[in-house]
Symmetry: C2
Subunit: 392 residues, 2 copies
Amino acid sequence: MTDITVLSRGLSVPKGFGDASLVAAPPGAIRLLGGIPAPEALPVEDFGRASAALWEDRPAAVAGLQYSQTPGFAALRSWIAAREGVDPRRIVITNGGMHGLSLAVLTVVERGATVAVDDPVFPLFLRALEVSTTATLPVPVVGDGFDVEYLAARLAAGERIAAAYTVPDFHNPSQVTLPADKRRALVELAERYGFYVIADNPYRELRFAGEDQGHAVFNDSDRAIHVNTFTKTLGPGWRLGWLVLPEHLVDPVVRLRNRGDSHSPTVTQTIVENLVTQDGWFDGVVKAANDLYRERAQVLVDALHEELPGAFGTQVPEGGLFLWPRLRDDSLDAAALYERAAAAGVVYQQGAHFAASPQQESARHLRFAFGDRTPDELREAARRLAQAFHGA
Amino acid sequence: MTDITVLSRGLSVPKGFGDASLVAAPPGAIRLLGGIPAPEALPVEDFGRASAALWEDRPAAVAGLQYSQTPGFAALRSWIAAREGVDPRRIVITNGGMHGLSLAVLTVVERGATVAVDDPVFPLFLRALEVSTTATLPVPVVGDGFDVEYLAARLAAGERIAAAYTVPDFHNPSQVTLPADKRRALVELAERYGFYVIADNPYRELRFAGEDQGHAVFNDSDRAIHVNTFTKTLGPGWRLGWLVLPEHLVDPVVRLRNRGDSHSPTVTQTIVENLVTQDGWFDGVVKAANDLYRERAQVLVDALHEELPGAFGTQVPEGGLFLWPRLRDDSLDAAALYERAAAAGVVYQQGAHFAASPQQESARHLRFAFGDRTPDELREAARRLAQAFHGA
């Protein structure tokens, strides 16, 4: 008998993170689980108007229901390319960020090759990586992100990698942003040693404080793949994102996509293209969302200080959807705390799920996703968390 | 430098078929190119109503824009499962038929393994297959489809395959249907020799004459993957299809999909689920479409007889979107005929593009896709084709 096989053989069974977001929390629990946009931030009325426009024009609707080009709709790619500052030919529309990561991995990671990854890491990237390899070089994510010097030292010592994966803006889970000079240094390493930087940037638009550290450094290098998505701004349900590819990777990625689902749905591309190409529309959506997230981040930080003074080391986020507080009491059992918190009616992601190595530091953190919770819910979440602490 | 790599390495550059459908035909040419539904058969008004319903209910719309489960929407899977006569757990929603083929190949075809394929074959399957292998065993498609006895003889002689690929209903390109007894025999071979049947069935609903040869034989076997799609009924632009999987392949396929684009868009699933779960809606759409296709098939056959008596061996289709006439004059240069036809204002797919082996038989055929052309266009196409013949 032929064994079942190939890419699907040996893929790990999902556990912990990545499924907790979909698992039923205790009834009434406040969920600080997923990096998903606030319901209030989704421009549903605009989606409705653009959808109606699509179906009202029958000849256009019919034409729009046929097959389309693999790289995606031209006007959508042009709009993205203008924002990215690149030629539209280098944009390939994907079915969201995970799909972009998957295409990137399948295009530049040889079977069994080693890939440097954030530690702590977005766990679903390790899953995406499994189709090519499970060999990783965990690189500590420090106070200002991916430790480029650590990687440089390992490379200088002879280690070789096919790619380096990091979330440069508002890191998942650790909320930090990679400074401009470290971005430059990372890309220079990639160019020197011949690996690819996979820059996973879903939170980039969600800056509500501080200074943009720039992304041209990724878009200008032949050794960087810049992965982005509409998931955190327009909603995961669209399953629409894009890759900014070096010129020489465009054809390989398109050929690979030709062997997959051919192209993203025309229905979703039509609606999103219609909206984003309206002058100022997308910036307006993002600004309204960031006003919400700025407030929510501050409310959560303040509530934790008030309800649990001294319990956490926290940093007010400059953007994104995550707070990554560190437990100050090293004797506290983080797993037991999680159980008590769930019983008290608040659920979050345990830091241990994000460790890319046996290091114990991640387990001392909690990941709170604040974006889709109201200020009142965030305050109540902090109160319930305090109950969990006091039950310790 | 790391080479670019892995799945995307060595993928062929698309040529001929599969791109001709998207290439600009000469201005004014009648296009008999693609297996796509008639514009008149697409229920655009219903799509508009279901879209409006989605966006009108804001809480539901917002919930529907979040992440969802990888196998697809529950009610959509249940509706499909009821039609297929299987447990809903065995249905995985895909982004259309090509995506289903791709997931099937990546799940059951070892790298470098041999796969038996229709000859002539749907060329995009060979492309999907390239991510795992280029080793094929071409199996002649004869008057009643895939030659199961030929395959049986090769297997008896010691040849081993990972899978056998065929289009059982209204074969692409050759329009024939595999009879019930040959389906049974093929599945029995798969069970005896331990390979998988990949039954690619996009045209199955489009029967307008003759007897259904049944699909339970595929759905009842642990050795068959049944690939289907809404592409030919509701339109390619939805990029929605499904796999009927043997129980033991459900988890491997879901794990693989987890590493790809996670799930099909909720927006498209919501709209299609809303419609197909309305009692009788889908059957009504299919019946109206088949009334069109029955007429168009007959018009084309009649017009060819009238304009070019004796030029072709033709068979009136019982369903699907293709006519696969054979040139009677073996001395006629089929490639030169195509050039003259294009110059006369009619384009089609040349049979040679579908050959899976060096056999010359396919090149003696033409593939006319009649589904999206009106009767008047089909009659005019036959007249232009007659000009091309007379210019020979």
